[in-house]
Symmetry: C2
Subunit: 458 residues, 2 copies
């Protein structure tokens, strides 16, 4: 009996119209990556297990898809290990490879392995799928694309400036207006924790602060208290909840607040440089907003922290993010390489674009011309014509069989074809073809000798 087919949970098939929309977004992102001087690399879908394990925390380790060794993997395992029936003990014996979990760790591994073949600063982009054994839910999948651009080997703040410009350029080109780019700096967060006397609780402090959007000031205070941050420290943090005004004004308030912290003051200086440069350069459609509550898995970042929020009228989490990390390649043996990068969230950008109706209509046109098939001889003449149309860049085809004309026209309708060409017996005798404009319903004849006249008419 035939199988009833299905696909694994959390994965997706993409129909042509969906691929066209995804490729539209990816194409625009890639184009601007390249204009900004980033170069594409690709890494294998699976890495050695020890390249990935231990890089994403305990939760991450669990979510990494492990690949079963090929060959006779079972007999090589000690019986005592089987007897434990413990997955954590067993998997290292039957799996030595795993699907990549993100593009950043493979990139760090790549930089270290190919350091002698690269020019530093090295600006790379990478658009490839990643896999996570997460519980699937709306907008979260087990296979999804990441679109990352990173620079390694430069600690210049000009890179941060440029990455904000890059976000602005891409979202402007996608016609996605109202995007907010939120900016923070780990040094600011560290400075605040220091100033309020919670320096030893930096992670708890920032994790709580990061929830501001969701649970509000009261919730954040409570969260801090639960995590054991002294009430006195929480009270000292009060001015942070009242930051107001332009980015420059917020920086002034922060500067006052952080005056006793060397690290915090350095953070203010960095943010000032970035925001002033971007004020001067100008953004086309995005808004840059300082946000001291932004943390994004802090232990990763050492300087700037970036996050992109979708336009307010759409309820969607962040559609991108990034930041500076100072020692990512260190784990693979290459020290003191500063990196900074951003990521675009393809799936969420897609959902936002769809909700706002921003995909160009032309994406639905997978075929420009369909030639009706009136029989072998006519179809051959149509195939000759189609050869010329294709050379002119038109997506065109001859209906493969001389089915009923109604059926062929229905196919043309369903494929949303703007022009149908008819070469019947009579047209063939007269050396002509008839073009039917499917929108207006009008028809126009051209000679088979000179299809250029039709091509030029478009």
């Amino acid at each position: 009996m035939a199988q009833k087919p299905s696909i694994p949970k959390g994965t997706r098939d993409f129909l042509p119209s969906e691929v066209a929309r995804r490729n539209y977004i990816i194409g625009i992102i890639q184009k601007h990556f390249e204009h900004y001087g980033y170069q594409p690399i690709e890494t294998p879908s699976f890495e050695n297990l020890d390249t990935l394990m231990g890089k994403y925390g305990e939760e991450g380790d669990r979510l990494i898809f492990k690949i079963l060794n090929s060959g006779d993997f079972a007999e090589k395992v000690d019986k005592a290990i089987y007897e434990q029936q413990d997955s954590k003990s067993l998997y290292p014996h039957i799996s030595e490879k795993a699907l990549r979990y993100d593009l950043t760790v493979p990139f760090a591994r790549f930089v270290v392995m190919h350091q002698n073949e690269l020019q530093f600063p090295f600006k790379r982009y990478q658009v490839q799928p990643v896999w996570r054994a997460d519980r699937p839910q709306k907008g979260r999948f087990r296979e999804f694309y990441q679109c990352d651009a990173d620079v390694v080997g430069s600690d210049s703040l000009l890179q941060e400036v440029e990455l904000v410009q890059l976000y602005d350029t891409v979202f402007t080109d996608l016609k996605l207006e109202g995007v907010t780019i939120k900016l923070n700096n780990r040094k600011i967060l560290a400075g605040i924790a220091e100033v309020i006397g919670a320096g030893d609780k930096l992670v708890d402090f920032t994790v709580a602060l990061d929830k501001m959007d969701k649970i509000g000031e009261e919730g954040v205070r409570n969260d801090m208290w639960v995590k054991g941050i002294p009430q006195e420290s929480i009270d000292k943090a009060q001015p942070l909840f009242a930051l107001k005004g332009s980015n420059a004004e917020i920086l002034d308030q922060l500067s006052d607040f952080l005056t006793t912290s060397e690290e915090g003051t350095k953070g203010v200086e960095e943010l000032r440089y970035i925001t002033e440069a971007l004020d001067d350069l100008g953004l086309a459609s995005c808004t840059l907003r300082l946000d001291v509550t932004l943390a994004r898995g802090l232990n990763y970042y050492t300087g700037a922290i970036l996050e992109v929020a979708a336009p307010e009228q759409v309820s969607m989490g962040s559609i991108g993010g990034g930041g500076r990390y100072d020692d990512l390649t260190g784990i693979f043996g290459l020290k003191d390489i500063s990196g900074v990068g951003v990521s675009f969230g393809l799936d969420r950008i897609y959902l936002v674009m769809e909700e706002l109706g921003l995909f160009p209509e032309t994406l639905d046109r997978a075929l420009d011309v369909l030639c009706i098939n009136f029989g072998d001889k006519e179809a051959l003449a149509a195939t000759k014509l189609v050869q010329q149309l294709r050379r002119a860049g038109m997506k065109s085809e001859v209906y493969p069989s001389s089915a009923k004309i109604q059926k062929q026209f229905k196919y043309a309708d369903n494929r949303n074809v703007p022009y149908v060409i008819l070469i019947g017996e009579q047209e063939l005798q007269q050396g002509e073809f008839v073009v039917k404009d499917m929108k207006s319903g009008t028809q126009q004849s051209y000679t088979l000798e000179n299809p250029e006249a039709f091509i030029k008419s478009l």
Copy 2:
């Protein structure tokens, strides 16, 4: 201690210049897929194990990469199964997903699952990686891309004609001259086996015949004999080894030879239609050659069989292949859907293009303009200029730090940049920028107000 990084055997990292070359080939293939009316789809990297197993023969089953179940997979397995220490018994209990092995079976699964959302005939293309646990060797990898175009739901021979044209169009556009497209038909092979009285040994017969290129006539005869094909049958097959002349002449000889076989005669008719249509339409750079020894894993194909041979001066196996299959979707419950398709071998095409020096030089240019960084103020002016160059489609960047000029020029050299822009203190005061042509060494000044003058000069 830091890990010394490596990647799994049979996988590859791609450096920017390699990605550019691969994307050049893929871009041309995709462009023509679309001109020919094929639409892109994408399927998940992993499928349910039972979708893939049993579709590629016993050897194929073994080469499929299986993914370990996530969560506590180990404790769910019966101890008795562990005790067998047998991989084949164990894996179904700890793995329910596997990486796709080709694009054809997932496509068949896709067609069945989405049959109500598709227009038939459905022309799809798919360019995605596949994975095989093959022993890695030169030109064979464990992860590689397939580029497939297939039509399902039409048994018209016009599709075969068009697929040959498609090959011709792509290889002509790649400027890869001297490609031979070999054509056969399973009905011819079945007819020959029938005529020589070896109808019950069809597979052995064709497997032997398929080796003609490698082991010659004597070897093939010997191989047939070893496989138990009677000497009398082998002798009867003699005329096949002496087929000569144009495609039309070969068809005449085949027609005579197969006159007593209905199936064989049908095969001759089909090939005659295809070759005559293509004679009429003409090929731009490829040669179409009938080859009765061509089999390509016969059990798959039911009609046309296609294989593409690289130009003779390059020693490389086939760089593409395909054919007609009449019941691929049947295994998933959708009967009587005829399909025909072709595949492009990206890795081998790449090697051939490289050996023949056919990649355009422009692919090595990842950056059009580098602005030298003379300090914060100058760099900001350069960033403003670069914004405008990028808008004009130029890949451009500012060197991120005000490093020594020599170092910055060396970076420009290494990145193969044709134009270096200088905005020093003096230029900034005068509102100018200097463009140095790195090939000729000449310099030219333009005003910062009007960078259009530079853009237009290119």
